[in-house]
Structures are given as structure tokens and as C-alpha cells.
Symmetry: C2
Subunit: 303 residues, 2 copies
């Protein structure tokens, strides 16, 4: 029997499957569940055990991580009748890595505390690439001792692992992260459309602007995809709209106007209206092109 803690895992989408895979690779015994069992097939083939519900996963594990879709899913997975807290034992830790609501993280932490369980919110940034390469930034809220206990698991999945404060602080930090990206994506889209309409060669423009004061991770990573007409996710428009909605709601609760974030949210909603919710966030340029009544003319390199 391993002396390593037994790890539970809920949610094996693009992010979750890659992250759980790193935990398996690090030699931890893993029990997994997810809504669609076929999405766990690869992990099960690599040695993970299956359980039918989050409660069963928690019952079989010392530390359980979840990364699911929306706050309603988080509520069900943690607090529902077959949820993690229904199966966890005193001394266990449960970790929500979904981008979700700070207030819900606090509620889960309070309910967990009543059961003698530690709850941690630990949303991530870095996208599918970061999940695959184990280079995620993990933003953590929770009691310090519990966070230290879980840290080796985080280290298997990420590169930048920072505790930001008590329960909810991880989610608030993720909101900061998404506010930074959201408005930046408007500028990125407008700037590339401007360059196209001005008749510039955008590959050459990228040489001038990407390494300097206008440079950003998004420009370096999404710019080339946009130039070749690649709008595949990456990070789903639908999930980004959810994240921005949470940040807007939190900001409004603080009486903090965030006009740039609000504009980004609306433009991304217009992408959903065009049926592009399952495309990547770099698709924002298509919303602005539509607003301008122009075509985004870059197209995929000939196969």
C-alpha cells in the first residue's frame, strides 16, 4: 500500500483530464468520476479507479480535486446529496479547481468545516497548453495548513502555485486574471482588424509590436492563431462568458464599475449569439469584424 495520499478526481474535460493525468504520473493512487464515463477511459487505462458519484470518490480518497463547468455544477459536486461532502471523512481535503464564485467557495468552506473537512478553492490559468505541460498558474484560497498538505498535488499539475488568502481568495484572484485578459482581447481584436483594414502585412506588424510595450501573452499566443484563421479552442467562449459573468457580479456586489469588462462580456455574448460559444476566445475578432461589416480575411494555411 502506498504511503501517498489517495487522490480523488471529479471532472475529466480538456483541463481535468490533463491535470489528473499529471497526478497519476506522479504516482498517486487516483479514483475518478465524471459525467460521461467515456471521457475517463484514458485515465482508467492508466491505472485510475472508477467511482459512480462524487460522494464515492471522496469516500475512497484523502484529497479530492474537482474541475467542472459552472457554479451550479460546483454546488452539486460539493454540496449535493451525492456530493463530495456527503462522502468525505473528517481530516479529508476537497479542492475546487473550477473557476467559480468566491461566495460559493466560502459557503463550501463553511459547510466543509462543519464536517471536519478542509475546503480549498484553487482555480487555474494557462489553458489547455498549460494543463498538458503542467505549467498552470494555480491561485489558491484556503487555510494555510490545508493548502500546504495539498501543495505536492498542485506541484504535479502547475508551475506557479500561490496561496492568495483564505477561502474565496483563489476565486477572486482568478477574477483579476480574467478581467486582465477580457479587455486585452478587445484591444487585440481591434488592433488586428485596424491593421488589416489599413492594408498592413500583419505578420510583419507582429514583428514590430509583439516584443515591445504592446506585447502580451495573448498577443504572442492568440495572434498567430488569428492570423491563420484558427479559431478552435483553447479556451471556450462559453466558459469565458461564465468567468466574466462571475467577475461582473462580484464587481457589482462591491459597487465597482468595470466598463471594460462589461464591454468584453457583451462582445463575447454576441459570439454566443452567432453560435460560436464552442470556439476559442480568440474568436472575439469575428464579433468585431461583424460589427464593422467586414470579413476577417486571414484564412488557414492551405493543407
Amino acid at each position: 500500500m502506498s504511503d501517498k495520499p489517495r487522490i480523488g478526481w471529479v471532472g475529466t474535460g480538456v483541463m481535468g483530464a490533463a491535470m489528473c493525468g499529471h497526478v497519476l504520473d506522479a504516482g498517486y493512487p487516483v479514483t475518478v468520476t465524471t459525467r460521461t464515463r467515456s471521457k475517463a477511459r484514458d485515465l482508467l487505462g492508466r491505472g485510475a479507479s472508477w467511482a459512480g458519484t462524487p460522494a464515492e470518490v471522496a469516500a475512497a480518497s484523502d484529497i479530492t480535486c474537482a474541475i467542472v463547468g459552472f457554479p451550479a455544477d460546483v454546488r452539486e459536486v460539493f454540496l449535493g446529496p451525492s456530493g463530495l461532502l456527503a462522502g468525505a471523512s473528517p481530516g479529508d481535503a476537497v479542492v475546487d479547481m473550477t473557476t467559480s464564485e468566491p461566495a460559493l467557495a466560502i459557503e463550501i468552506a463553511e459547510r466543509a468545516d462543519e464536517a471536519g473537512v478542509s475546503a480549498i478553492d484553487a482555480p487555474v490559468s494557462g489553458g489547455d497548453i498549460g494543463a498538458r505541460n503542467g505549467t498552470l498558474s494555480i491561485m489558491i484560497g484556503g487555510e494555510e495548513a490545508a493548502v500546504e498538505r495539498v501543495r505536492p498535488i498542485f506541484e504535479a499539475m502547475g508551475k506557479t502555485i500561490v496561496r492568495q488568502g483564505g477561502p474565496g481568495a483563489g476565486q477572486h484572484t482568478k477574477a483579476v486574471n480574467q478581467i486582465l485578459i477580457a479587455t486585452l482581447m478587445i484591444g487585440l481584436s481591434e488592433a488586428l482588424l485596424y491593421g488589416q483594414e489599413a492594408g498592413l502585412d500583419l505578420e510583419t506588424v507582429m514583428e514590430s509590436v509583439s516584443g515591445g510595450a504592446a506585447g502580451s501573452w495573448s498577443l504572442s499566443n492568440y495572434g498567430p492563431r488569428i492570423l491563420r484563421g484558427d479559431f478552435e479552442p483553447g479556451f471556450f467562449v462559453d466558459h469565458f462568458v461564465k468567468d466574466m459573468g462571475i467577475a461582473l457580479q462580484e464587481a457589482a456586489a462591491m459597487r465597482l464599475p468595470v466598463p471594460g469588462l462589461a464591454m468584453a462580456h457583451e462582445l463575447y455574448v454576441s459570439l454566443q449569439a452567432q453560435g460560436l460559444g464552442r470556439k476559442g476566445t480568440q474568436s472575439l475578432i469575428l464579433a468585431l469584424a461583424r460589427l464593422a461589416g467586414v470579413e476577417w480575411r486571414e484564412s488557414p494555411a492551405p493543407g
Copy 2:
């Protein structure tokens, strides 16, 4: 007598003085003029010659660079009765490094061409730091042969030196650069205010967000200044408003809506309205704090 071309220089503000200093350091004979002679004192002490007008500078030079304030200044310096084209000889080159209007760059190039002179637009990015360290990005529009002739001068001042196309293409590329930065600065300001109001420790938040998908040059360079309450320029709000105004005007002429840029412009105008036009562009957070009716609470480290 030097076999190097004789260089003329018009405009010795924060950017111009540093850039002209690099040309002097590279061993070129330099003739300089500027509106306020005292601002050229250091360059004159290092061997530059003085001339009374741009026309006189051009008459004494093979290649003359100008970096002044606003498009009206550019028009006067290049096309005015005592302007560069009034003094230049056939075969000379004149280079506008001011961020100015693409249409004006084209007009200057046409007028220069009639006089047998080559005109180049070559605005820069990288700020005061880039100017001092010789690491500017120089975005160039003009005929290829003329650009190649001037390239060694650019290499004395900058690191990323890219010809973007014919006359005006440098200015259009600079507009792309400023559109990228403008909207990003809204997100940066909103994100830090959100973090403050959520009660996060912003130094710790920076550890989580600056190296990942939300990362940018502006976050890494302006973030720490904002956190310590340092709003000194850098890059003047007044100049950024000018740059954004040019980009808005060009975008409107193309019938390209740029709502993010427009919002950034308006928020920066509100800074001017607060008397903060001579502060640095990172001051945008003060406009958003005012909108929220909150204080930006970070303050300079105790002296």
C-alpha cells in the same frame, strides 16, 4: 572630415534627447534644433552643433530626424516656411519619428518626392526606458532604398527595426501598437481595483497573474509602479490621448468601429479633465477609482 552621413535632429524632449544621444555616441556628426534651446544643452556639450530652424538643420545634414509633439508640429517642422523641406537638398532623407497621422506622412512623402528628397515615417515604441537603453521598436514606412540608407541610424537607437511598407505604414503600425495598449490599460486598471476592493494582497496577486495567460509588458512594467503609487511619466497621458485620437480618426475614416479604443480614449480624457495630463499613462487607474468613488490606496514606499 567624417565619411559618415551628417545627421540633423529636431526635437529634444525626453524621447528625442535620448535618441539623439545614441546617434552622437555612434560617432555621427549631428546638428540639432529644438523649441527650447536649453533642452539641447547636454547634446551641444557632447559635440552636437546648433542651428536656428529645421530648414537650417536640413541644410547642414544628409539625413534629418524629427520627434516633436503633435501633428501640427510635424506639419510645421516638415512643411512650414522654415521647415525641413525648405532646407533639404535633392538626395537628402527626412525622417519623422513622432507618432503622427498616416495621411500627413503620405502628404510629406509626396511633397518631399517633388523636391527629390526621401521622406520616411518611423514612429517608435518602448517609452523613455527604451529610448535611454536604445531598445526601441521602430516602425517604418517609406521607400525601401531610403529606409536601407537610414537603417544604420535606426540601429543606433533601437532594437526592433522593421519596415512595414510605403509612406504611412509606420504610422499605421504605431496605431496598431497604441490600440493594443489602450484597451489593455483599462483591464489592468479594473483588475487591480477589483483586487484591492476584494481585499487581496496585490503583490501576491501579481505573482499569480503576471507570468501567465494574463501577462503583458504593461502589467509587468506599470503594475509595480501602480502598486507603489508612482504615477510619474513614463509616457504622458496627454501624448497618449493624442495617439489614440489619431487612431480613432483613422479607424473612423476606414469605417471601422473600435469601441474599446473609444472607451480608453474617453477615460484618458477624464484624466486630463482631472488635471493629470502630465502624469504617466499608468494613472488610468485613478480615473476608474474616481468612477467607483474609491481611493486607490497604495501609496509610495516611505522615503
